[in-house]
Symmetry: C2
Subunit: 383 residues, 2 copies
Amino acid sequence: MKIIVLGADGYLGWPTCMHLASLGNEVIAVDSYLKRKIAKETSSAPLVEMPGLPDRADAYFDLGRRGKIKVYEGDLADYEFMSKVMSEKPDAVIHYAEQPSGPYSMLGHKEAALTLHNNTGTTLNLIHAVLEHCPECHIIKLGTMGEYGTPNIDIEEGWIDITHNGRSDKFLFPRQAGSFYHTTKILDTDILWFYVRMKGLRVTDLMQGPVYSHFTDSMEGEEILGTHFWYDDLFGTALNRFVVQAVAGIPMTVYGKGGQTRGYLNLKDTMQCITLAAENPADQGELRIMNQFTEDFSANQLAEAVQRASKLVGIDAEIDHIANPRIEKEDHYYNAKLEKFMELGLKPHLLNDDVIVQMLEYVKKHKDRIDPSVVHPRVNWRR
Amino acid sequence: MKIIVLGADGYLGWPTCMHLASLGNEVIAVDSYLKRKIAKETSSAPLVEMPGLPDRADAYFDLGRRGKIKVYEGDLADYEFMSKVMSEKPDAVIHYAEQPSGPYSMLGHKEAALTLHNNTGTTLNLIHAVLEHCPECHIIKLGTMGEYGTPNIDIEEGWIDITHNGRSDKFLFPRQAGSFYHTTKILDTDILWFYVRMKGLRVTDLMQGPVYSHFTDSMEGEEILGTHFWYDDLFGTALNRFVVQAVAGIPMTVYGKGGQTRGYLNLKDTMQCITLAAENPADQGELRIMNQFTEDFSANQLAEAVQRASKLVGIDAEIDHIANPRIEKEDHYYNAKLEKFMELGLKPHLLNDDVIVQMLEYVKKHKDRIDPSVVHPRVNWRR
């Protein structure tokens, strides 16, 4: 298949490009480096900064890996560029090209406006470019489990049948998110659902939980092929941040009571899910929504798992319950369905000591690069 | 009260300014004339073109009407301007400032992108400007009954209690709209609900049906104080368009079978509802959603009502069922609740022959200004 990856420079983007290329697909990688720019502005940085896409693609090729990754650099929020990219008429397009930080979106008006216009604008541009060039192209859109929030009912996979006053209909599962960034993913789903109904697009919307780890099969131990490992309060996801705190000797910061439960997954399983989605496309005129995680953890459980694994490598990691900078339930019902990917054949890589130890070893190797000033939450939802 | 009306040059905006001023409120009218600009670009025009806001405000004052209307001209999608306007620290702000045409939003990418960025961007700007200057200000936002679409269940007022697998929670009523413009109103509701939860805003979101007629009490027969009467396929609502077709001797264009049912209201009742909402504000931290219409009609019923009233003024109006340019159900269940405004004291002006005859007389007076080329649908949802 010919597959375009939008947002190819990101934490998920680059491993996805390699993974799809290694399976024999023709891959086109696209990014504007918006995340790098935002990171610089907020003094955030990945543990190890990697070169830009052309150099990463060259390194992949030079190491003799399977396939070739073609690169486009430009701003997908600009329709002319998006249209040029999509004139490649791919079989599938994977849309990661969004500002991905909840805390960043809560900083102030400028950051909220950037998140709104970039994220929804890129989604709208993609839809129109697909309509213009390749209406049969399978759009695989990265949404988030965060769209659902933490409702007091079971979380279905995107849709729910409602019976009300004796009559019934099927609707999008109700959604209410915990950050403005997550809210823009709700808007994306609304926009996609509209155009699927009106124009018969073929769309898979993936409700993904927070991803952890740094390793994928196609990296095969070559650090030059590694993805950016983010650990700061803006771009770092919970488990990755905890591992860095453990290595740096900073107490792991659990927000509030720590009962906040989410569905998590290993980076390797993001690769698996994206591949399963691409190989089993949605139908024309279908908005297929799949939950993408493998197991639930509370923040406390994650911190305790890191504490336990740290002992194995001689680190005595502490846990600190700090005032919650976010507005969220710290103790709540959480039961999200995971059926569709299991039916497609997902084989989860579950979280265990080995996985965390591997992460600890990687971070230890780059311990001198850790900036402890960006780990503690810098954004408060109440201000 | 000090009340700011955003989108004050619009079909509803100008009558709202006069109405609120006539009740003794201090009114500030704001517009960028975006709708006039879009209308020019699409060869659409109101039946009679009125002067800009400063001249309309002067005319209101010169006629000795109660109060004074202060005018700001500028683009509310620009945060600096929005912030300047909201530094007036009003008690309430009425947000009409959106691109309001469904067919326009379906023309192509450019028009969809303008609708998305202008509408959601203005809403986000308003939220942040309220947070910056006047967090207790009551935001009265014009949504649309079109957000709900035509579900197979009763339409509640904004919220629904869902019981699922033995557990219950309260959610936003599920929404799926029939045009991209209407979809942006869904996005607005999502955005407002997020910031109400996080920042404790005070918001009323009005799910309004299509409005008809041209006359309000504060106009009192002075044409110079009249609102723009739109009748073209982009900006004209069904009943207004049918009246123009009847006068022009063009068959009334009912789309498809004509069973499309919506909740309609007289322009006078928009004035009443806005006033009732302003005088009975939502609580701090509440997203109050109220349905704003007075009676349901199918397209067929509206056309037949115009046909009947036309006979009374000697016009033999024809009805033509044309191929539906939209993608919508032409025969569906429709039962929308109307309780909250009735509890607040709404006294509906129902549709009858007198109301239609008054509209017919107004249009007859300006019959020579009708451009028959813009009445027939120019936008097809399928293209």
